[in-house]
Amino acid sequence: MELTYTDAQRAFRDEVRSWMRDNVPATPLPSFDASREGFEAHRAWEAKLNEGRWGMVTWPDAYGGRGLDLIRWLIFEEEYYGARAPLRVNQNGIFLLGPTLMEFGTEQQKARYLPRMATGEEIWAQAWSEPQAGSDLAAVRAKARREGDEYVLSGHKIWSSRAVYADMAFGLFRTDPDSERHHGLSLILFPLDAPGVTRQAIHQINGEHGFAELFLDEVRVPAENILGAEGQGWKICMATAGFERGLMLRSPARYQVAVRALVALAQSRGDDLDPVLRARVAEAAMGAEAYALSIYSTASRLMAGGRIGAEASTNKIFWSELDIALHRTALDILGDRAELHPGASAAPDAGNWLDGYLFSLAGPIYAGTNEIQRNIIAERMLGMPRK
């Protein structure tokens, strides 16, 4: 183990830091889930990032990246969050579909989709879940029928994040009408403004419409929009879910920056801070640090040729539970102000803890619920009997 950054890595950090200092908007952008205006402001930010070639630093140059390794990606993320740069409106594209395309896409698909993803010209939504297929994703019913050189899509998708304003979606469809469970499924890309797509916003717990229901009625897309071969959908989705849970979805810096704010909040209480709350602040900070160390170790292992396996499920449980504990601690420090929105005059220092707390409650649900992750850990990592 050699836990010091090289000079080149330090220089890279400085480069990111100075670009962020010069470019991160001074006032936070309006939420991308609350209005078209907020969404477009974030799209403009993605374009700006791309001008600096910061869209996705691990991608090859040809697709708008810099061909950097995972340690540099982590350094980038640290500086990105440290600068309080806007959340990535295209995260489902760059962190989920991007790596999936890189692994399973054809050259044409990579050239067609990745550069536009990097510039924010095309913002992506993930359309996998259905009303009857949540945890049990293999119960997907939405169909894709092959007609000549087109697929015709029909069905009902739900909980699709960003889909209210996004441009494109990657969906899971049953291409073989006689198939069951995880057989006969395919991953197909479709424009969200195609004829036959109806989107209906769903209000989330915080009142914003962060996800949508999608009704697809005979939506026609070119057959080349299939990712991988027909019937390979399940395998590809599981690979995507691996990136999602294992590494990319939640970078450690997010929690480390939140901890920095939590410690500042705690210190603003001075000696009045209850020792129990001080202990909880310490535990939250330990959690954020442990998660970061774990991701550095995973990144090092991947760079040495290793792969992510079922242990990705332990990550997802860890960060989601950490996120809740961290925000709960902040709310408990705020006490009777915790319920107030940042705008309330009685809560000048309440910050965004309430919003963060509400959002943290989704963590154990999305990307596969924590119960499902525990099943995966027990059965695939520990080898416990399925039945």
Binding site: Y5, Q256, S297, M381
Partner: protein
Amino acid sequence: MQFVITEEQQMMTDMVREFLAANCTTAELRALAETGKSHDAARWSAMVELGLPGALVGEEAGGLGLAPQDVIGLVTAAGAALLPEPLIETMGITLPALDQFGEAALLAQVMAGEAQVALSHPAAPFAEGADSADAILIFEVDRVLLCPAGSATITPQPGVDPLRRLFAVTPGPDAQILAEGEAARAATDHAQEIGALFAAAQMLGIAQRAIDISVAYAGERTQFGKPIGSYQALKHHLASAQVAVEFARPVLQAASAMAASTQDAYTRARISHAKYVCGRAAETTAQTAIQVHGGMGYSQEADVHFYIKRTLSLRNLWGTETLHRNRYAARLETLAIGPDTLFNQEG
């Protein structure tokens, strides 16, 4: 930045793990406990043969010249095997101290398997196996003493772990002062850091082993016509335990890589972090193991009771959980924090 175990480090760990699998089974530990002893002479000789007690002593003094990060895997393996002989303390603290204070003759004797030195420290006051030691190394807040066994007064302090024979120690008039004042304080502090780091490693080993034996038991034991391991409640308990282990391990590894300089405030905080989370992981896991074993878990028929007992001592030795959490909290309040400080060290 390379956060990976090297091949040599892995080989060392594997070698010791295999040795322990062959020579330190729980059946052997039970037999040893029956005799009322806690050390097995043959096993100790074999470990001496492998050069393990002197692993951290410099090569010029006859040791292996390794660093804490090179042995952290073997310490974890020793924890998992519940190794009763004082390898970890001897390797981590006693011999490096004898070396530091110029006790070359005694150092050579211990490395040759000809002498045993027991250990007492403010953060681990009861000397394990003091009744069979030739000398006792006593760290006090501002003195370090070496006391010939015959000159110390030792009083047995029976404890819960059948494989830890504990004694309160009062040094006698023949005790030799190895260090005083600032030098002693520094040595005592350093010993506590290494003690905490290695206790954390042993607890991580215990945690993983307690999960493994529980998974095995849950696969064999049937109730309602099915293996109990097929029930989701038990799966989820064990999955949660595994999560705790997964996020304690990298902290421990990072702490071991930083432990070459235990004066450093960032290093100390990380050792505290490791001690805290490895202790938590061992506690949760050992409790879960008892629950998974049902009535068996509350008996001495199965092995599980050994794990909770060893955890009980390790969690409180070399600084209690509260002490380490407070140390970590103080680090948050006094040193730089934020994503770019993850691998900070002073100087």
